[in-house]
C-alpha cells in the first residue's frame, strides 16, 4: 500500500468569489461530502473509544465501546466509498490515518475532549439526534451506495439515540450534582450545534446528484427531539448565540491534532502493516 503512506497535507485551495469572500474550490463535491460523513463518525468514534476501560461501571463501559465500534464502522464504510469516488486509490485506512488535521472535514463538536460523563453523553445525544435524522433523509438518496449505507447506519444510530437520550434524562432529572453537570455540558456544547446544520456549496452540488437533504426541516425536527428530551430531563435549552464553525473547511480546534497523534501513531509507525 505504498500510495497509502504518502502523507496528505492538502489544505483546501481557495478562490475569492465575486463578493470578495474566500471560498474553497471543490473539485469533487461528493468526495467532500462523504469525507464529512465519515470524519464526523471517525472522530466521535475515537472519542468514545477513549472511554474503554474507564466507564463508570462495567456494563456502561461495554455500551460506550459498543457505540464507538458502531461509529468507526460507519466511518469505515463512508471513507471507503469516499476513496472509490475520489478515484486516486486511497483506501479508508489511507484516509483515516494518513491525512493531516487540515484535511479533516468533521464538525468541531465531535473533536472536543470527552470531559465528564455528562459532557460525553450530552454531546452523544445532540449528535445522535442529528445523525438519525440525517441517515433517515439520506436513505432516500438517489445514489444507491449512499442510500444503502445510510439505511444500515440508521438502524444502529437509533439504538445510540435511545441510549444517550435515556442517559440525558437520568442525569438531568437525577441528583443536584448530575443535573448541574448536565446543564453545564449542554450550555458548553450548544455553540457547536449550528455547524451540523450549515448548508454550503458542497450540499448544493451533491443535491444535483440526488443527495438531497432539507437542512431547515432537519434542524426543525432536531430541535423537536432535543426539546422533548430536555423537558423530560428538566434541563433548560440554551438560546442560540454565536455558533462556532470551521471544521467542514478544515479549520479545527487545537484538540484535533492531539487526537490524531494518538489515533494515527500505530498506522504511521508501521505503514502497510496488516493485522
Amino acid at each position: 500500500m505504498s500510495d497509502d503512506t504518502v502523507v496528505s497535507n492538502d489544505a483546501t485551495p481557495t478562490v475569492f468569489n465575486p463578493a470578495g469572500v474566500r471560498v474553497p474550490i471543490i473539485q469533487n463535491p461528493l468526495f467532500e461530502y462523504l469525507l464529512r460523513l465519515g470524519d464526523d463518525r471517525l472522530i466521535l468514534g475515537h472519542r468514545m473509544s477513549e472511554w474503554c476501560g474507564h466507564g463508570p461501571i462495567l456494563e456502561e463501559d461495554i455500551a460506550l465501546s459498543n457505540i464507538a465500534l458502531d461509529l468507526i464502522g460507519h466511518a469505515s464504510s463512508m471513507l471507503a466509498l469516499a476513496g472509490t469516488v475520489e478515484g486516486q486509490g486511497r483506501t479508508e485506512d489511507a484516509l483515516a490515518y494518513f491525512r493531516e488535521g487540515v484535511a479533516f472535514r468533521n464538525a468541531l463538536i465531535v473533536e472536543l475532549p470527552n470531559g465528564d460523563f455528562a459532557f460525553t453523553m450530552m454531546r452523544q445525544f445532540l449528535f445522535d439526534a442529528y445523525s438519525v435524522l440525517l441517515w433517515d433523509a439520506l436513505s432516500q438518496a438517489a445514489d444507491a451506495r449512499v442510500a444503502a449505507l445510510a439505511a444500515k447506519s440508521l438502524k444502529e444510530d437509533k439504538y445510540h439515540l435511545r441510549h444517550s437520550s435515556e442517559w440525558v434524562v437520568r442525569l438531568g432529572d437525577g441528583t443536584d450534582e448530575s443535573h448541574g453537570r448536565a446543564q453545564q455540558a449542554l450550555d458548553a456544547l450548544w455553540r457547536y450545534t449550528g455547524e451540523l446544520f450549515d448548508r454550503d456549496g458542497v450540499d448544493d452540488a451533491v443535491a444535483v446528484q440526488g443527495i438531497v437533504v432539507d437542512h431547515a426541516a432537519l434542524y426543525a425536527r432536531w430541535q423537536g427531539i432535543v426539546a422533548d428530551v430536555l423537558r423530560r430531563a428538566t434541563l433548560v435549552m440554551p438560546t442560540d448565540g454565536a455558533m462556532r464553525r470551521g471544521g467542514r473547511a478544515g479549520r479545527h480546534t487545537e484538540h484535533l491534532g492531539h487526537l490524531l497523534s494518538v489515533m494515527q501513531i500505530v498506522a504511521r509507525s508501521h505503514p502497510g502493516a496488516a493485522w
Binding site: 456494563e59 461495554i62 455500551a63 435515556e166
Partner: protein, 99 residues
C-alpha cells in the same frame, strides 16, 4: 452493603434471552443497571448484540425467589425407591414415543 452503595443505585437484574420466536426464554446472566430501561439496554449490549436473541426479559434479581442448596434433598430427591410414583408402567402410543 450500605443502601448508598453500588447495589442500591445500580441493582442487579437477571437477564433472560429468547433465541427464536416461540422458543422458551433462558437465563443468560445478569447486569447492573439503575432501572429497567437501562437494564434492558445493558442486557442487549452484553448478551444480545451478536444475534443471540430476538427478545429479552430483565427481572430485578430481588424479585426472584430461589430454592436454597440446603433444600436440595427435600425438594429434588426423586424418590427412586418408590417406583409407583413414576408413570413408567404404561406402553406409550407410537405417536408420543418421541418424548
Amino acid at each position: 452493603m450500605a443502601d448508598t452503595g453500588l447495589e442500591a443505585s445500580w441493582p442487579l437484574w437477571e437477564v433472560f434471552t429468547q433465541g427464536a420466536h416461540g422458543e422458551p426464554f433462558a437465563h443468560a446472566g445478569s447486569v447492573h443497571a439503575t432501572d429497567a430501561e437501562l437494564a434492558l439496554q445493558n442486557a442487549r449490549d452484553v448478551y444480545a448484540r451478536r444475534g443471540e436473541a430476538v427478545n429479552l426479559w430483565v427481572v430485578p434479581a430481588t424479585a426472584i425467589t430461589a430454592s436454597a442448596p440446603s433444600d436440595a434433598g427435600p425438594f429434588f430427591d426423586p424418590g427412586n425407591d418408590k417406583a409407583y410414583r413414576h408413570p413408567q408402567f404404561y406402553v406409550a402410543p407410537r405417536g408420543v414415543r418421541i418424548f
